[in-house]
């Protein structure tokens, strides 16, 4: 079976800092791969090469076996890659609907932005993802951290992604909302999406992921099936940078 995504031998430096040092990871349809590592290990930087936010110095990206060039976020979206960024990447002065459709606005026949239709769609998806969400007509700056996060999640899920990147999607969520995201991940997995999940919660990762890739100082320590290792093994990989 060809992987949905293969990132092969990716390297990227910021000035002299090797943020990503020849890392190879892959992802199959219907699979959740966890990316683990210390703060500053290079997790966000790696997935930003896939989402088009950064351009890698060297390496190759294959989507369904085909080599692709991803130079900007539009290229990534064109390959059905959706991303929930750690920073959420929301325009604080716009409302939930405008953020959800940012860059992909629904327009009316005359080519004008159709805010009412976008709001209706946003209400529909939010009813599914976060039924308690009510703040449709205020700028997202007026939202709580968790509400903002659910807007970012809705944006990634709405557009029928094939590849979903979630950079600490539950960092600001309460226990109830975190469980809902876990259910969402399980559902998307059943639908055949491939998901990269970055998280610091090893317990969550063991529960949700099929495989984990551990990074340390920009290098890949190793990739393991969660069924083959224990939480302590993974902790060892993160802290000591050694395979079990």
């Amino acid at each position: 079976m060809t992987p949905l995504v293969e990132m092969r031998d990716i390297a990227l430096s910021f000035g002299g800092v090797k943020a990503i040092d020849h890392v190879t990871v892959d992802l199959y349809p219907g699979e959740v791969v966890g990316l683990l590592g210390h703060n500053g290990a290079g997790k966000s930087t790696l997935i930003k090469c896939l989402s088009g936010a950064y351009q890698m110095d060297s390496g190759q990206i294959f989507i369904e076996g085909q080599p692709v060039t991803i130079n900007n976020p539009r290229d990534a979206r064109a390959h059905n890659i959706e991303t929930i960024y750690q920073t959420l990447a929301l325009a604080d002065n716009l409302d939930a609907a405008s953020n959800l459709f940012l860059g992909r606005e629904l327009v009316s026949a005359g080519g004008f932005v159709d805010d009412d239709r976008m709001e209706a769609e946003t209400r529909r998806i939010m009813a599914r993802l976060n039924p308690n969400f009510r703040k449709f007509n205020v700028p997202v700056s007026a939202l709580s951290g968790g509400q903002r996060q659910s807007v970012a999640i809705a944006r990634a899920v709405y557009f029928n992604a094939k590849i979903l990147i979630m950079d600490e999607p539950t960092a600001a969520l309460g226990p109830h909302e975190t469980r809902m995201v876990a259910e969402l991940i399980a559902e998307l997995k059943r639908q055949g999406l491939g998901i990269f999940l970055i998280s610091h919660d090893i317990h969550d990762v063991m529960a949700l992921c099929d495989r984990v890739s551990v990074m340390k100082n920009g290098k890949l320590v190793g990739t393991e099936r969660v069924t083959d290792v224990t939480e302590d093994d993974i902790l060892g990989m993160i802290i000591l940078g050694k395979k079990p």
């Binding site: 989402s51 088009g52 936010a53 900007n72 976020p73 539009r74 979206r77 991303t83 960024y85 920073t87 959420l88 990447a89 929301l90 325009a91 604080d92 002065n93 716009l94 405008s98 953020n99 940012l102 860059g103 992909r104 606005e105 327009v107 080519g111 004008f112 932005v113 009412d116 239709r117 709001e119 209706a120 209400r123 009510r134 703040k135 449709f136 007509n137 205020v138 700028p139 700056s141 007026a142």
Partner: protein, 430 residues
């Protein structure tokens, strides 16, 4: 905020029910107070049709540019070169009128193609210089403050060089129609325009309501909608009525009749009606508001102002966006140059001097935040009107010009302070 799904129905104030922007109300309130105070201080000379007419045409040039400045400031940039750009555009248009068309092409004075070609040339020059500024800012990442500070010096002196420092005139008679008092559409046409504007506004409000209701969203109560419609219609028609009430002086009318070889009937009067320059401003205001609220371009401007990184991660080409915004600003400078030079009937070197400050002040008084992401077109126009009212009012009262500037400068700072306090109170600023 309204929410159809929540069970509780919070009590709402009148302004909330009418969905009026309280900040706008505050500005209108300030404007009304300014007008009333000057009306008293000038011995009832301020709120006359004649003075309102003059005030309106004096505001047009700055107001047109202020609408473009809103987009520039919303994206966290600034344009200090608008006054100089206006001068270059004015110089180019004057050259087309007094040299290219009559002399170079030998088409004589007053050829019907002169005004359209001059305006086209001005728009092309303005948009090109603006696009160049935008390229320096967006692609070469030089701060807009520096690019346009340089531009302020460069373009004013390019204008000087183009005309060798001479005053060029008189401008084409058709071109002069854009100047204000020399180009009004008369009473009947003004009423027709007013009626059409009311019809368009009512249709727009009704269809917006229908669309919202169609999606099952909460809409204003019917009475609130009716109040808003009455308010808008009243404002439009009242404005037309005032400009129509300003009578053309009898001596001038006599000359018009004499030119046609007729004699003026006894007791004949005629109002000026809407100046063409004001119609240009209205068209710009409507177009810019539609761009801001109903187009992707406008949405991207506000998104980029709110969070440039998020905009880029959403696939928005923020560099190209910057070029487009500055090009639009340049084109609007050209349009202002048409109005300003037509009003003066010639091109003089000092045209548009200090306009950059007036334009930025108008946008800022109108609620555009320098931190980006926030601003409205109507606010900027109201800001321009408030500044012009202050200036004219003080001149009428006999305040010396240095004091006028002291007051206007202080008002700018004070207005921003009020704005900050208002936003803190309303929770929009943290």
């Amino acid at each position: 905020m309204t929410d159809t799904t929540s069970g509780e129905i919070p009590r709402k104030s009148l302004t909330q029910t009418l969905q009026l922007d309280t900040r706008l109300l505050g500005m209108i309130g300030a404007f009304v107070v300014i007008c009333l105070v000057f009306h008293v201080l000038t011995g009832q000379r301020f709120l006359t049709p004649r003075n309102i007419f003059t005030l309106t045409i004096q505001t047009v040039s700055v107001a047109i540019m202020a609408t473009g400045m809103v987009f520039v400031i919303v994206t966290r940039h600034i344009d200090l070169s608008v006054g100089s750009l206006l001068a270059v555009c004015s110089a180019v248009m004057a050259l087309v009128q007094v040299w290219v068309m009559p002399q170079l092409l030998g088409l004589g004075i007053g050829h019907p193609a002169t005004a359209p070609l001059a305006i086209l040339a001005g728009l092309v020059v303005g948009a090109s210089i603006g696009a160049f500024n935008g390229w320096l800012v967006g692609y070469l990442t030089i701060p807009a403050f520096i690019v346009t500070l340089g531009g302020l010096l460069v373009w004013r002196n390019v204008a000087w060089y183009l005309t060798s420092g001479q005053t060029l005139g008189p401008l084409d008679p058709n071109f002069q129609l854009f100047g204000g008092i020399n180009g009004t559409i008369g009473v009947t046409a003004s009423w027709i325009v007013g009626a059409l504007a009311v019809a368009a506004a009512l249709w727009f409000m009704a269809s917006a309501r229908r669309k919202k209701a169609g999606h099952g969203f909460a809409v204003k109560p019917l009475w609130a909608e009716a109040v808003m419609m009455a308010l808008v219609s009243g404002l439009i028609l009242g404005f037309v009525a005032i400009l129509n009430a300003y009578q053309v002086p009898a001596a001038r009318l006599e000359r018009v009749f004499a030119a046609r070889g007729e004699t003026m009937p006894e007791g004949y009067t005629e109002g000026y009606g809407l100046p063409i320059s004001v119609l240009v401003l209205v068209a710009v205001a409507v177009a810019m508001t539609v761009v801001a609220r109903r187009t992707r371009f406008g949405r991207y401007i506000f998104a980029t102002g709110g969070n440039p990184e998020a905009a880029a991660l959403s696939g928005i080409n923020t560099r190209l966006l910057t070029v487009k915004i500055f090009a639009l600003m340049g084109a609007l400078c050209a349009l202002s140059a048409v109005v300003a030079s037509a009003r003066a009937a010639n091109h003089a070197n000092d045209i548009g001097t200090l306009d950059e400050l007036r334009v930025i002040a108008a946008a800022v008084i109108g609620g555009t935040a320098l931190s980006g992401g926030v601003g409205t077109i109507y606010g900027a126009i109201l800001g321009a009107l408030i500044m012009q009212s202050l200036q004219s009012g003080m001149a009428m009262v006999g305040v010396e010009s240095p004091f006028q500037n002291i007051v206007v400068g202080s008002v700018l700072v004070f207005a921003v302070l009020i704005d900050i306090i208002y936003r803190k109170r309303s929770g929009a600023l943290k």
